[in-house]
């Protein structure tokens, strides 16, 4: 059994006991424990079930590479699935539950899958769920979706807050182990601004556990003094509990800081996403131990050798009473010695390497009386929910049993793989190290910065320097080189000298035993979480999935939440072997950020609740809000759709407002319309190019409606242009078009017509704009007084400056409703004052504010088009019978040549018409108008579609606008418009101008 030892544990505080619950069961741990160490201390080795076969899963590792110990953490608003127990610091009242089993962890129905495992080989899903085709939708997909995913998705709203933080530094060190700290010191001594990110709560990485010396001082003491030295330096920022998550272009790095996962009751944000710009990056990310592939290596109790000694040294937790060590290298002997030193039993060290000169570690183990079995291997592990023993065999053979050894833990080591993930994120290449059997960074092919020069260096174990003897010098050099590359001058002086016990070379072991028979290979796990075994990868190779990227996706090797940190190298070694090619030729799959999963909350940062997205408010926003506005999002703006009175339905409000504009007086907040000031000697020429009609001939004081097309001829925006003076025009755009058209103008001025003398300024928000519309529009303005707004002084399509009610305004006599209408522009800071004055003065004229839906109906009654309704990016002005607004005189304008292309000049293009339903009803939005026959896909042919459709309260019937084949020539014809509900409507083709076709009302 696993248990807490009576003494030791460098990271725990035995004075502080923490109660927590796992699957409802009360357990106790100490401050400083991880959830994994606390579970082991409570003899909870079984922590979950694997994904495919629901095999029992125990804790394997002690760090972020852990594939098995994933739990649901927290409840309700703090619930989070797939949290790794090995990186979860224990806190008081922690609640964890295990995943992927039913009804319970110890007895799981899904484990039947394991019995069927030989019928569920690699590619099972691809092979099985193909036929019959119609089973996919109703049977296979729901079934697979039900089975997919380990943890449950959270349902409650996240109770925590998150934030981003931007940081800048000369040298960023990722990894706060002995190498990272040494590199940081070397860089910081030059005066460079240095940041150090360490993913755990503790500095020093593995070094304090594994031992060694620096300049004859024990390495744990060296770590302490490095931290003291770095903490005292103003140019150094140390961040622990902060993982280097991803490396991106030009020295952009994401850091994921877990501020209070370990202290949930503390105030402040839970996670902080650091968005760092670093001139130079040093990855000192250490190395991860590889498992060995023997039968039953997934049974709870089989652990990485390094994890076993981590639990003993850091947490005083022994994973087992009798621990067999199995290895292909000397490093694992440290584990055997550590176990032995606790007084527990190590029945044997099974070393796959043949007899050879023992190194100092082997000598020490032997001196402690540990039995060392050289050239041997594990044939299979016994046990189901916990290891009970192993069968010994020769590494060279097929697995013939030699001896049974009883044990309750197995510590395995297949050698070490440098953590090259962050080096690889942004294009760093790898090279195969034959001696250590690992990929390591190819320092000659480093990621490069904006200047094309390397901006990234690996250091220490991450650079393949797995032993203290070379690690320290490598880290020191990397830190100095990074500082130098960012413009600082390194100090001279010797690098610190590291020393550790010599180690004999490892022997690559990818399969154990070497010639393992099929039944053993089918029980030798590579990917513990996704249940990929040696036999699966071999099958993939046999079936032709030769590329490592294909084999990965076919077998799902390395595709679990741990992203194959333990399985990838072993898997590609097996693949290489099956393909008969060397490992470097097979290569690795792509390393992608983040290094381990980061929370969605951290990505969202502050963006939630009220500040999820910027909301643009007009100066009249508060009035609308207080007066029943039903909001409609228009871009980031909110515009009143209608003002709903108490006891009134939304539709009723729209009808009331629409009628009132035609009968009395309406006010519209038109502040959101784009207002672009275009000025300069070439402004007229410029606008003639942008608009389809002529703007240069407009006289100062006059307005003109204009259309803007893109270079492909399609209509993109429309609006009224006013000429302010000789070289100044003010262009109104649609609400949604303001920013886009501003950019469009700047783009043409900056890229094509850079020598034209034109300046553009976006004045959209400088003005509030109020449309005063209806038969009493002039009355209310005259009542406010201050300027002459009579027909004689301010005619249709005129503008002029003046005052109204003592407020400076610019009045435009323009109409989007067909009524007598003025749009009054006023400085934003006085917008509300003018609005209030108009509401006040308008009472005697029956004033009502109206929203965007009334605006739509009013314009549709007049047959005015709306960008986004009648247009969709594929419509040209000619489709909308707007030929009158396309200049025939101009030599060129944007879109002119495009509109001459065959398809756009095609006379059979659908054209705009009005539709009147025969029964007066309203056609549903988005209706299609079918034609006879079907197309090649068996779908009904079409002859048109409805673009706008409303009930017009002024006409008392449904009206619509539609694009119809040869429409204008078919006036009076009745079209059939079927609905999905089965109802069929009949509508007559009419002119799109339903109301006041002569335009008498707006021109009074």
């Amino acid at each position: 059994m696993s248990t807490r030892l009576a003494t030791g544990g460098r990271l725990i505080d035995r004075c502080t006991t923490l109660k927590f619950r796992f699957n409802g069961k009360l357990m106790r741990g100490f401050a400083g424990d991880t959830l994994a160490s606390a579970l082991l201390a409570n003899d909870q080795m079984l922590v979950g079930r694997s994904f495919k076969y629901h095999r029992p899963r125990g804790i394997v590792a002690s760090g972020p590479e852990e594939p098995n110990a994933l739990v649901n953490l927290g409840e309700e608003g703090t619930f989070e699935p797939n949290q790794r127990a090995t990186t979860t610091e224990l806190f008081r009242e922690l609640q964890a539950t295990s995943q992927n089993h039913w009804p319970m962890l110890e007895f799981d129905i899904g484990a039947l899958n394991a019995k069927l495992s030989r019928f569920m080989p690699a590619g099972f899903y691809y092979k099985t769920f193909l036929y019959p085709r119609h089973f996919w939708k109703y049977l296979y997909e729901p079934f697979i979706r039900q089975a997919a995913g380990l943890g449950k998705a959270p349902k409650a709203r996240d109770a925590d807050s998150y934030e981003h933080s931007y940081a800048f530094c000369d040298v960023l060190i990722i990894g706060g182990g002995i190498a990272g700290l040494t590199a940081a010191r070397a860089a910081a001594q030059t005066g460079a601004r240095v940041m150090v990110l360490e993913q755990t709560a503790h500095w020093g990485g593995r070094a304090p556990v594994d031992g060694g010396t620096v300049d004859d001082t024990p390495v744990d003491k060296v770590v302490d003094s490095l931290i003291a030295e770095l903490s005292a330096m103003d140019n150094v920022t140390l961040l622990n509990r902060c993982m280097g998550a991803g490396v991106y272009d030009h020295g952009y790095v994401l850091g994921y800081e877990r501020l209070r996962d370990h202290a949930p009751d503390a105030p402040g944000p839970r996670h902080r996403l650091w968005r760092i710009r670093a001139a130079q990056i040093v990855t000192a990310t250490g190395a991860i131990e590889r498992p060995l592939s023997f039968a039953g290596n997934d049974i709870p109790g089989v652990m990485l050798a390094s994890a076993v000694r981590d639990y003993i040294t850091n947490f005083a937790v022994s994973p087992g009473d009798r621990t067999v060590v199995v290895t292909n290298n000397d490093d694992a002997y440290r584990t055997a010695i550590a176990v032995k030193n606790t007084g527990l039993d190590v029945p044997a060290i099974i070393d796959a390497r043949p007899e050879g000169a023992p190194g100092p570690l082997a000598t020490e183990a032997e001196a402690q009386g540990i039995r060392i079995l050289r050239g041997k291997a594990i044939a299979k592990v016994h046990g189901t929910q916990r290891v009970t023993g192993i069968t010994l065999c020769a590494q060279a053979g097929a697995g013939a049993p030699l001896e049974e050894i009883a044990c309750d833990a197995v510590a395995m080591s297949g050698g070490w793989s440098p953590v090259v993930h962050l080096w690889s994120h942004c294009g760093g290449k790898l090279t195969w190290d034959d001696t250590q059997a690992c990929f390591r960074p190819d320092v000659d092919k480093a990621p490069i910065g904006a200047d094309g020069i390397a901006n990234h260096r690996p250091a220490g174990a991450a650079n393949g320097h797995l032993h203290m003897s070379t690690l320290m010098a490598d880290a020191h050099t990397a830190g100095q080189a990074a500082a130098k590359a960012s413009g600082f001058k390194p100090k001279t002086g010797a690098a610190p000298a590291g020393a550790s016990l010599d180690e004999a070379p490892l022997m690559p072991v990818w399969r154990m035993p070497q010639g393992a028979a099929q039944d053993l290979r089918a029980k030798s796990w590579l990917d513990f979480q996704n249940d990929v075994k040696v036999s699966d990868v071999e099958l993939a190779a046999q079936e032709g999935f030769e590329s490592v990227e294909h084999a990965k996706r076919y077998t799902t090797l390395g595709m679990a939440t741990d992203q194959g940190k333990l399985s990838n190298i072993n898997g590609l070694a097996i693949l290489s072997d099956a393909l008969g090619q060397p490992i470097p030729q097979t290569g690795t799959t792509t390393f992608r950020p983040p290094y381990t999963p980061i929370s969605m909350g951290a990505i969202a940062g502050e963006g939630r609740g009220d500040i999820f997205q910027p909301l643009r408010r007009t100066p009249l926003h508060d009035w609308h809000d207080a007066n029943g506005a039903h909001w409609e999002p228009v871009g980031h703006w909110r515009r009143p759709y209608a003002y709903v009175r108490s006891g009134e339905k939304l539709h009723d409000a729209v009808m009331r407002e629409t009628k009132n504009v035609r009968e009395n007086l309406g006010l519209l907040d038109a502040s959101t319309l784009g207002k672009l000031l275009v000025k300069g000697p070439d402004a007229g020429r410029f606008l003639d190019m942008l608009y389809t009609n002529m703007m240069s001939t407009l006289k100062p004081g006059k307005c003109r409606y204009g259309l803007m097309c893109n270079e492909n001829g399609f209509l993109m925006d429309d609006g009224v242009v006013a000429r302010i003076d000789d070289d100044t025009w003010l262009c109104h755009t649609t609400t949604g078009g303001a920013d886009h058209i501003h950019q469009h103008m700047e783009e043409w001025l900056q890229t094509e017509w850079w020598d034209w003398k034109v300046h553009v300024a976006n004045l959209t928000e400088h003005y509030a704009q109020i449309a005063v519309v209806g038969p009493h529009a002039r009355d209310v303005l005259e009542k406010l007084g201050g300027m002459d707004v009579s027909a004689g002084s301010l005619g249709f399509m005129d503008w002029k400056d003046g005052t109204l009610g003592g407020i400076d305004v610019r009045a435009y006599r323009i109409s989007f409703s067909g009524e007598l209408s003025y749009e009054i522009a006023v400085k934003a800071s006085q917008g509300r004052a003018l609005w209030d004055a108009l509401i006040d003065a308008g009472q005697e004229f029956g004033v009502m504010p109206y929203g965007t839906e009334a605006l739509h109906i009013l314009r549709a009654e007049k047959g005015f088009i709306m960008i986004g309704d009648e247009t969709d990016g594929t419509i040209i002005p000619q489709d909308l019978n707007l030929n009158w607004a396309i200049s025939k005189k101009k030599e060129d304008f944007l879109g002119k040549r495009a509109q001459e292309r065959t398809h756009l000049a095609d006379p059979t293009r659908w054209k705009l018409v009005g539709l009147e339903t025969v029964d007066g009803s309203t056609i549903p939005d988005g209706s299609y108008i079918p034609a006879d026959g079907t197309n090649a896909n068996g779908q009904s042919n079409l002859q048109g579609r409805v673009t706008s459709t409303y009930h017009s309260p002024n006409l008392g019937r449904g009206i619509a606008m539609a694009l119809v084949a040869d429409g204008p020539a078919r006036m009076g014809e009745t079209l059939m418009i079927p609905e999905p509900s089965g109802v069929t409507r009949y509508a007559k083709i009419v002119s799109p101008v339903f109301y006041d076709p002569e335009g008498e009302k707006q021109n009074v």
């Binding site: 934030e163 931007y166 800048f168 300046h759 934003a828 800071s829």
Partner: protein
């Protein structure tokens, strides 16, 4: 004649830093050839200041000139003097190729006092360390999801400018970033 009002009526929040919506400020966009003598004279006459270099703001009393782009600066002056200033500048510039336009009402402005560095570094991808961002430094950038500009007036005073329509959003994100923890 009614009094002009700011977007948020002078809203204020005190957390790790104090965020205050500033009173209406005159803002004038000046575009043109920044090396032209007439343009420099127009700016100087209006503010008493010479044009700042890239990334900087020249300031004296309630007047300032901020560098916006290679052909654009932003002039600050008292709100009630904008009209006269624009007219005088236009007069000076005459028929030279330049634009002078009042943009005061298109903007909202906030003053941050206290430890604003930590607040801004949560919202803007800008190095606001003392070395990189001493007083007189001006940056057009973004705050979370919207365009903004800010400058450091004194060691512990920053001014932030944004569009008026997003004043509430900017106030809210500044407030959120300045929550005492």
């Amino acid at each position: 004649m009614s009094e002009p009002v700011t977007a948020l009526g002078g809203a204020q929040f005190t957390g790790t830093t104090t965020v205050t919506e500033a009173a209406l400020t005159g803002m004038i966009t000046l575009r043109g050839d920044l090396s032209a003598a007439k343009l420099k004279k127009a700016a100087k006459d209006a503010t008493g200041l010479t044009l700042p270099s890239q990334g900087h703001i020249a300031q004296k009393g309630d007047a300032a000139i901020a560098w916006m782009s290679p052909d654009e600066v932003l002039l600050l002056c008292p709100y009630d003097r904008v009209g006269a200033t624009v007219a005088a500048m236009s007069e000076t510039l005459g028929d030279s190729f330049a634009m002078v336009v009042d943009v005061s009402d298109a903007r909202a402005m906030f003053t941050l006092s206290g430890d604003a560095t930590a607040v801004l570094s949560k919202l803007a991808p800008v190095d606001v360390s003392d070395a990189a961002f001493p007083p007189g430094t001006f940056r057009r950038t973004r705050l979370a999801q919207v365009a903004a500009a800010f400058w450091r007036a004194e060691d512990d005073t920053y001014h932030v400018i944004c569009f008026r329509s997003v004043a509430q959003y900017v106030f809210d994100i500044l407030k959120n970033a300045a929550q005492p923890r």
